[in-house]
């Protein structure tokens, strides 16, 4: 039941209390009756307001399907029986996606020459692991040796100034995994959506009603963005840089591999909800694997939330429990899961009834 309906009912209850209390009163006892009426009405309002607060908290905690972008899913979300990793039988939303962000074409990722500007390339984690992503410009590729203080970096041909990148599906498959094949080391890695199998799909199972967990859970997949893309767990940075590769993101902080499709490793505003909050709260960007809302790091005034718990979550009267994501280069969205989730090695994409449609576990190269 929506908040507006509750408020309407509150008005009706209050009016009824006045009207009913007015019955049977005579002119002689009019004054005491009026006092009684006021007391009763006050009590009714108090009880009803508490009910509205309680109900509105429940309504706003958990997934609001209307917040997702049009065409985020390949079929209408359904509600199915599911069991959390803690063994709780519950109901889950089943989301099926095409592994692509709804409403936009991802990319670009790798620049092509050492003179290319920021418009031609995407972004990458800053070496400090904090703050905004850094632009992958031609100059950035040129200076990787000094950036990482390691002379072995050479992602370009010094004679032609062309940047080495994974230009084919075979190269993408050989490079976009933790154990990068030797021939694809010293490459800027990018994969196209066209490399995905024709019947590629992702299925996400997320509790309809979030269930607070007895113990916080580890994040392998953080959740689902409002455009239907996966909000991924931390990228295996050591493996990526250890192979002298950059698993380039687009400016939105995501990239493609053939197991997960397009997925985010950081949020730069592309998955922000169009609808801003009336109270200046940070905007919604998606939902975590446990069903709680995930909000941007900063509010409308550019301030970070204070009083976050160890999962980067907090509770308020409007949204109930919810998370605030970390900065783009921190290589994480949230710190842990406050609620129970359907983890199965593919995060919230646990096998739906009837089997797993989306292949083997991921080997994400970032």
């Amino acid at each position: 039941m929506s908040l507006s309906i509750h408020k309407s009912l509150l008005g009706i209850v209050t009016l009824s209390a006045f009207a009913l209390a007015g019955c049977n009163s005579t002119p002689s006892d009019a004054k005491p009756a009026a006092t009684e009426v006021a007391k009763v009405a006050e009590k009714v309002v108090e009880v009803a307001e508490t009910a509205v607060k309680t109900t509105s908290k429940t309504v706003n905690e958990g997934i609001n399907l209307s917040m997702f972008v049009k065409d985020a899913f390949t079929s209408e979300p359904t509600i199915v029986d599911c069991e959390t990793s803690a063994g709780t039988a519950t109901k889950c939303y089943q989301f099926v996606t095409a592994g692509a962000p709804a409403g936009r074409e991802p990319g670009p990722y790798c620049p092509r020459t050492t003179s290319d500007s920021a418009e031609v390339g995407g972004g990458w984690f800053s070496k400090e692991g904090s703050g905004d992503l850094v632009d992958i410009t031609g100059e950035f590729i040129l200076n990787l040796s000094s950036y990482y203080d390691d002379d072995k970096w050479m992602l370009y041909d010094p004679e032609t100034n062309k940047i080495r990148y994974t230009a084919t599906k075979a190269a993408c498959l050989g490079a976009a995994k933790p154990d990068v094949e030797e021939e694809y080391m010293q490459n800027c890695i990018e994969c196209e959506l066209s490399y995905l199998d024709d019947d590629f799909s992702r299925t996400f199972l997320i509790p309809v009603t979030p269930i607070p967990a007895a113990e916080t859970g580890r994040v392998s997949t953080a959740g689902i963005a409002l455009d239907g893309s996966e909000l991924s767990g931390s990228a295996p940075i050591d493996a990526i840089l250890g192979a002298y590769t950059i698993a380039a993101f687009d400016d939105c902080g995501g990239h493609v591999n053939t197991h997960q499709g397009y997925h985010y490793h950081s949020t730069t505003g592309c998955s922000d909800a169009a609808e801003k909050s009336d109270d200046g709260h940070a905007v919604l960007i998606g939902y975590a694997a446990d069903g709680y809302g995930m909000y941007a790091m900063k509010d409308a005034e550019g301030k970070e939330a204070i009083g976050l718990d160890e999962c980067r979550g907090q509770t308020d009267d409007v949204r109930g429990y919810h998370y605030h994501v970390a900065s783009p280069s921190e290589n994480m969205f949230i710190g842990c899961l406050h609620g129970e989730s359907i983890q199965s090695g593919r995060g919230p994409g646990g096998p739906p009834p009837g089997g797993r449609p989306d292949g083997p576990p991921p080997h994400d190269a970032g």
Binding site: S130, T216, V219, S234, E310, M332
Partner: protein, 99 residues
């Protein structure tokens, strides 16, 4: 030349190559984006307090959490900005452009 002799000669060479490769890969790990967050949780347990310095020596304060198998310092306080005037010219000069 017997197989044993070939092996005796090749083995030291292979060992050297392996050692060089291992060192090369290992040395590339320094400076990894989450390096500081990982180091901050060395010898710590889940939920223990941690902190590390990020870009511009800003302070990141949080607790250690598994992400998903390694303990990483997860910031849960706003980034503690270093006083702007302390930012050196060198830092400005060598910094790639941020989005």
């Amino acid at each position: 030349m017997t197989f044993k002799k070939v092996l005796n000669k090749a083995l030291p060479v292979l060992a050297t190559i392996a050692a060089v490769l291992t060192f090369s890969v290992a040395s590339a790990h320094t400076g990894a984006p989450s390096g500081a967050a990982l180091l901050a949780c060395e010898a710590k347990q889940k939920s223990q307090a941690c902190q590390y310095e990020g870009a511009h020596s800003d302070l990141y304060i949080g607790t250690c959490q598994y992400m998903p198998d390694q303990l990483l310092c997860v910031r849960n306080q706003p980034i503690q900005k270093k006083v702007e005037s302390e930012k050196t010219e060198t830092e400005e000069k060598h910094e790639p452009h941020k989005k």
